[in-house]
């Protein structure tokens, strides 16, 4: 089982190195297949460790240390992997969904001049993500955390000839670096107090409540930045500049959910800092609401899905923050299935239209892409949480958990239900606008040459979409709280759900019924407004403008951080660097020249002046000598 974990971790790294080192000696297709194979080998390793752990019993997690690479006094950290229920679950999701998406990329990226680089990055990303979820201590986790940030940066900016892509990559990197910094600070505090970065540290004994809160806040900062939660969320919509499979893999299925994994992994600490944990839950609730609202007015197909990703991660934060870790992880898993599916279906549409992403300019998609339409519909229904699709099982258990948690929980419960309504509305707005237009032009519209249309694409694209469609339907059936909870029991040794987050049966029932009803109501409203065209879309000018500007978060950050920083930089350049560091050396040189010009006059070249100076000097020395004596 340990060998499986190592295989899982190292296979994608080997794939990335091989593609990088072989360079142009392998064909572009070979690079794609190599990358796919490496990720599927990783999946095989994950399955191996899963079954190994199953046969041992899920409470028998095991560490394996390759070597200790950092030792300072009694503090030491090693290249250490951990196989336990939580990490095997993440390994399966990352390598499984990752493998499907890399396979999909072979079709999607076909013909791109830099395919090899793309696949090397993809393998690197999968390796980094596996390092993050498999690491046996917080230091290695931080290393994986930074590496996924790096690969995300590289892949968002993959089309580096587009200035917007480069800007988006930088934005994502900087936002993530902020999170990395707060996490690193939290680790410093942790090392100072407990002298350890192991997951098993007893936080209660070694940490004061202030220190615990500080550490938890630092970790929450990292989690919020990586998972695009308010207030560190602005990078995710922009990250849609990357290729669509990248959005599916990194910005929907795996990397952005790392924050939820982090909270589940370090939950003993968060439980000692209960306030911070509740802040995380509140942050999730705020994000799911705001992202749902903003998603209503976006016109870029990928941005709508990106906002829905933020919103769903908000649900996961809500669940994990309240202590329902298993529910959060469950939603993480089903979300990985249906969100990757939605992105890849959107990718088929974009591929078919030769790069068009504006949902108002997608004529004839319904007839040209019948299978994609069904796949998208499956993903959308799973996202809204209509039974028996997977989202129903995972999302409703989170909403029910909120109802059980006192008055604060009830507020969150209401927000989560509102979110369910919004989810139905924005998801089916997207669906109806893209796929259900009856006035769709039958032939290619003007400006669209028929050669620009690809149809549904090669089998490498359709197979992953098909597999994920099936998973999006059945993925939720492994748990139906409170009757059938194998996943919660599987995760129990690592992340036991808190008592306050275990709803009773009637709470489950009420929440589920309300969530489904509101979701269906959202779909109904979306149908009335966008599907049947029987009603005009209500317009509130001010609200719409605010939402189209994403509630002015970018403008706000620009005014608070970017502009003062630029002003200060300009001030320092003109007031400090300019006079002190730029012109000073030049002035020194000029002044030296001026002085030298004056001194040069003494050097007459006349013997007698030299002798005179010599004699005068001697006379002065003699007089001084006499006087002093």
């Amino acid at each position: 089982m340990i060998a499986g974990a190592w295989l899982c971790l190292l296979a994608p790294l080997a794939g990335a190195l091989l593609i990088t080192l072989c360079g142009t000696r392998i064909s572009r297709a070979t690079a794609g297949w190599l990358s796919t194979a490496s990720v599927f080998v990783a999946f095989a390793g994950a399955v191996w460790s899963f079954f190994g752990l199953r046969s041992h019993g899920s409470e028998h997690g095991a560490y394996s240390t390759a070597w200790t690479w950092l030792q300072s006094g009694s503090f030491h950290a090693g290249l250490q992997v951990l196989v336990d229920p939580l990490s095997t679950m993440m390994m399966l999701i990352v390598s499984g969904v990752g493998g499907l998406i890399v396979l999909y990329s072979i079709g999607y990226m076909h013909g791109d001049p830099e395919e090899r680089r793309y696949f090397a990055y993809m393998s690197l990303f999968v390796f980094s993500m596996l390092l993050l979820v498999e690491s046996g201590n917080l230091l290695l986790l931080l290393a994986g955390w930074g590496l996924v940030g790096l690969s995300s940066y590289l892949l968002i900016g993959f089309w580096h000839e587009r200035p917007t892509a480069v800007a988006a990559a930088k934005k994502a990197f900087i936002m993530n670096a902020f999170g990395d910094a707060t996490m690193a600070l939290a680790f410093f505090v942790l090392i100072a107090h407990t002298n350890s970065l192991a997951f098993t540290t007893d936080f209660n004994v070694h940490l004061s409540s202030t220190a615990t809160n500080l550490v938890a806040l630092g970790l929450l900062g990292g989690a919020a930045a990586k998972s695009a939660q308010i207030p560190l969320h602005t990078w995710l919509p922009d990250a849609m500049e990357g290729p669509t499979p990248v959005s599916a893999l990194i910005h929907a299925a795996t990397m952005v959910t790392a924050g939820v994994y982090l909270i589940a992994r370090t939950h003993p600490l968060f439980e000692h800092a209960r306030t911070v944990e509740l802040v995380a839950a509140g942050m999730g609730a705020l994000t799911l609401l705001v992202a749902g609202l903003v998603a209503l007015v976006q016109t870029d197909i990928k941005r709508v899905i990106a906002y829905s990703t933020m919103s769903q991660i908000g649900y996961m934060f809500l669940g994990a923050g309240l202590g329902a870790y298993a529910n959060g992880m469950f939603h993480l898993m089903t979300h990985a299935f249906f969100k990757a599916l939605l992105f890849m279906a959107a990718g088929v549409v974009i591929h078919h239209l030769g790069g068009e992403q504006d949902i108002r300019k997608m004529p004839g998609v319904r007839t040209a892409l019948p299978w994609t339409r069904w796949a998208f519909l499956v993903g959308a229904l799973a996202l809204v949480g209509v039974p028996p699709f997977s989202g129903f099982f995972s999302k409703d258990s989170i909403i029910a958990a909120a109802l059980h948690a006192h008055w604060y929980g009830v507020i969150l419960w209401v927000v989560a239900l509102l979110g369910a309504f919004l989810t139905g509305l924005y998801t089916f707005r997207l669906y109806f606008v893209v796929f259900a237009r009856d006035e769709a032009v039958t032939g290619p519209g003007p400006g669209h040459g028929s050669d620009g249309h690809h149809g549904e694409g090669p089998w490498t694209m359709l197979l992953p979409v098909g597999v994920l469609s099936v998973l999006a339907v059945v993925g939720g059936w492994i748990q139906f709280a409170p009757i059938w909870t194998p996943l919660t029991r599987w995760l129990e040794p690592v992340a036991r759900t808190l008592g306050v987050a275990e709803p009773t049966s009637w709470q489950e029932g009420v929440s589920s019924a309300l969530a489904v009803a509101l979701g269906l109501a959202g779909i109904g409203v979306a149908y009335a407004l966008y599907g049947s065209r029987s009603r005009a879309v209500p317009r509130l000018e001010a609200l719409q403008r605010a939402l189209e500007h994403k509630l002015y978060f970018d403008e706000l950050y620009d005014a608070i951080f970017a502009r003062p920083a630029q002003g200060l930089a300009l001030l320092l350049r003109d007031g400090f660097e300019g006079p002190w560091f730029v012109s000073t050396p030049a002035e020194l040189g000029e002044d030296t020249l001026v002085i030298a010009r004056g001194v040069r006059r003494i050097q007459t070249g006349l013997l007698r002046t030299y002798v005179l100076f010599l004699g005068t000097g001697m006379a002065v020395v003699a007089i001084v000598f006499l006087v002093v004596k």
């Binding site: 007459t604 070249g605 006349l606 013997l607 007698r608 002798v611 005179l612 004699g615």
Partner: protein, 102 residues
């Protein structure tokens, strides 16, 4: 001890040195300048020997011998320079030889 007191010797020495120094300062012919330098050195020599005798110590005389050796070599170099200047048909005038470039 017979003979005039040391002050006389030092007086003559100072007179010789001053004469030589004046010659170096005001004459323009390099030959005369060299000659004046010799007079300065000999003035110094005289003082050294006078002190040597006054202190009943041979060290001053050794110094004087060293100074004579230096003077001889200096004259060699100096006269060599004068010949070189003459050969290049330059003016034998130290004021006009004020630059290192020939």
């Amino acid at each position: 001890m017979a003979g005039p007191s040391i002050a006389w010797y030092l007086g003559v020495s100072a007179f010789l040195f001053a004469t030589g120094a004046l010659g170096v300062l005001i004459r323009r012919n390099p030959l005369i300048v060299l000659l004046s330098l010799e007079i300065m050195l000999n003035g110094a020599n005289l003082a050294l020997i006078a002190f040597s005798r006054h202190a009943r110590n041979g060290a001053g005389q050794i110094f004087a011998l060293a100074v004579m050796a230096v003077a001889a070599s200096e004259v060699c170099v100096g006269l060599g320079l004068v010949v070189a200047i003459h050969r290049r048909r330059l003016a034998l005038d130290v004021d006009r030889l004020s630059e290192l470039r020939g």
